[in-house]
């Protein structure tokens, strides 16, 4: 970590986060959106790991946090896909802009 300035990694993770966010905003496919969310979570994870190695007061904190985030991400995907499958079964669509019964 002495090799690369922390800012560079942070910019990298920011870009990754931005790409993920862009995906969530523009992907029609709900699975695509979920994938994009994974990118966002990973961006945050990179931050956590980098900070664990640079600014953290105790070395484990960031990494342990990252482990929890990965776990939560996995659960989110599981729950998300379960819901998407249920939706797919009844509505025959997995496009986010085709589910708009509820509005106004």
């Amino acid at each position: 970590m002495t090799l690369i300035p922390v800012e560079h990694v942070l910019i990298f993770s920011l870009l990754l986060f931005a790409i993920g966010l862009y995906g969530t905003l523009t992907r029609r496919n709900i699975i695509g959106i979920l994938i994009s969310i994974e990118l966002m979570l990973n961006a945050a994870n990179i931050n956590l790991v980098v900070f664990a190695k640079t600014t953290s007061l105790s070395p484990e904190t960031g990494q342990v946090f990252a482990v929890f985030v990965i776990a939560i991400a996995a659960v989110t995907v599981a729950v998300g896909l379960a819901i998407v499958l249920a939706l797919y079964r009844s509505r025959k669509t997995i496009f986010a802009d085709e589910v708009h019964l509820l509005k106004w």
């Binding site: 942070l10 986060f17 993920g20 966010l21 969530t24 709900i30 959106i33 979920l34 969310i37 966002m40 979570l41 961006a43 945050a44 994870n45 931050n47 956590l48 980098v50 900070f51 640079t54 600014t55 953290s56 007061l57 105790s58 904190t61 960031g62 342990v64 946090f65 929890f68 985030v69 939560i72 659960v75 989110t76 729950v79 998300g80 819901i83 998407v84 249920a86 939706l87 009844s90 509505r91 986010a96 589910v99 708009h100 019964l101 509820l102 509005k103 106004w104």
Partner: protein
């Protein structure tokens, strides 16, 4: 405090956890799923019985990951009430019959546990974790009725919106963590005080707001709420309008009060703006609703705006205001949803037009609904008024005149749409086609009585509650 010593203070939560697993087991064993519900209620009662007010001292259980203080205590009581009432409503909710009813109760017990962890979360990690826990359970419960396309749509929207918001929040958390080098809120506060960190603090905290704002349905992160509330099964909607929202506020309060002491008062401007925006949008949109659940969704957005007033002024009074308001809102909104459940149970629909002539079809129900709506409007001497009084008082004390005026105007607008329901119930004659009310099911009725008792008592003797909550 280490894990072993902590356990003796952790008994209520353990009861709930064991109860949850027990409920799943019981679900296999019994045919009448209602028994599971009753069992769950007993679990909640047992937990409540086991709870002790830490009264003044702060217990940092599990190395500080479970931060039990008076504040957390009252929010876990809040969570228990919310969950128990939801259970009672669910037990007489026809669409849930024969659709994994037992699991539903079990999940709700987990939800109770999740809410308690939120209340006791005192660092960035636990906040993220606990909030995600609540969120995930909420997505699942929203989509629980699989036969209902609306429910699934709601779940999907909830999931997507919630995940993105928590992604943003997590990003903010990571930045805050990096800046402070620690996940303790106290450290974060220390760090952010230095001027060079203020820009980063801004970004981090606003990211944080995104995640919490989503929970409390604060504008502009509120837009999921109407769709989800409309689509979700009614007892779940009832729960969602109070439970996660209140706990979101709990975290919000904790973060703001510990992270931002009054030296961070410039955040007050942002919060003031958010508060005004939230209540205005909620109120403006609520006016034209035709579905009662959606209507209450917007109403709950507006209520969130009022509650934010308490936070925006950064004062002890404001902090208390949030709590009092939430309790008032708890009784009121759950009561109102009990009526919604009853009407839905009788007519199978939840349109506002289905309430026509309710005062003749079921005078008691209409009367209770009126009480709750008046409380939401903030008419004394009901609980809602005490909440409103508190937030107004906090605003005036903090010299936030503009905020107070905007809130006052908003309250007047709100009165209009709350009275729309009253109008429909009392002034619009019932249609020929509407079914008559049979005997109302027992549990929602109990809820009605309990909640209205809460609304009236809190309204008439707020002094007692204030003393109870804040000593």
């Amino acid at each position: 405090m280490g894990p072993v010593e902590s356990l003796k203070y952790f008994i209520p939560e353990l009861i709930i956890l064991c109860g949850a697993f027990g409920a799943f087991l019981l679900d296999f064993a019994v045919r009448n799923k209602r028994a599971v519900g009753i069992f769950s209620l007993f679990v909640m009662a047992a937990a409540a019985f086991a709870m002790k007010n830490p009264a003044g001292e702060t217990l940092s259980l599990f190395y500080g990951f479970f931060h039990l203080d008076v504040f957390a205590h009252w929010f876990r009581i809040f969570a228990l009430i919310a969950v128990s009432v939801t259970l009672m409503l669910a037990m007489d909710y026809p669409p849930l019959k024969n659709r994994y009813e037992g699991e539903f109760y079990g999940l709700f017990l987990f939800m109770a546990f999740a809410l308690i962890t939120v209340a006791a979360a005192n660092n960035l990690l636990m906040i993220f974790l606990a909030v995600e826990f609540v969120s995930l359970l909420s997505y699942l419960l929203t989509g629980f009725l699989k036969h209902d396309p609306k429910a699934k749509e709601a779940a999907v929207k909830y999931l997507l919106f919630g995940s993105v918001c928590s992604g943003i929040m997590l990003y903010g958390i990571s930045l805050l963590y990096g800046a402070a080098g620690s996940i303790e809120l106290g450290h974060v506060w220390q760090t952010l005080r230095s001027p060079s960190m203020s820009a980063l603090g801004t970004v981090g905290v606003l990211c944080f707001f995104a995640g919490l704002g989503f929970k409390i349905s604060m504008a502009p992160f509120h837009m999921w709420a109407p769709d989800v509330y409309e689509g979700a099964p009614t007892p779940v909607t009832a729960f969602l309008t109070v439970g996660p929202k209140a706990l979101g506020f709990a975290v919000f309060t904790r973060v703001l009060i510990t992270v931002f002491s009054p030296s961070f008062a410039h955040w007050g401007v942002v919060l003031t703006a958010l508060s005004m925006l939230t209540m205005t949008i909620g109120n403006l949109t609520a006016i034209s609703q035709t579905n009662i659940k959606r209507f209450f969704a917007y109403s709950s957005i507006a209520q969130a705006g009022y509650i934010l007033m308490g936070l925006a002024v950064f004062s002890p009074l404001g902090q208390n205001a949030v709590m009092i308001y939430l309790f008032a809102y708890l009784f009121t909104n759950l009561g109102a949803f009990a009526v919604v459940c009853l009407v839905e149970g009788a007519s199978g629909k939840s349109n506002i037009s289905d309430y026509a002539g309710l005062s003749e079809r079921s005078p008691a129900t209409a009367f209770f609904m009126t009480v709750f709506l008046l409380s939401l409007t903030g008419i004394p001497p009901l609980a809602g008024f005490i909440g409103k009084y508190y937030v107004f008082a906090a605003a005036i004390e903090g010299k936030a005149i503009a905020l107070a005026v905007v809130a006052a105007v908003n309250s007047a607008v709100a009165a209009y749409y709350y009275f729309r329901i009253i109008r429909v119930m009392y002034l619009v004659p019932k249609a020929e086609t509407q079914p008559t009310f049979g005997t109302s099911p027992l549990y929602p009725k109990i809820v009605l009585w309990l909640m209205s008792a809460g609304v009236v008592t809190l309204g008439l003797f707020p002094g007692y509650f204030i003393k109870l909550l804040f000593g």
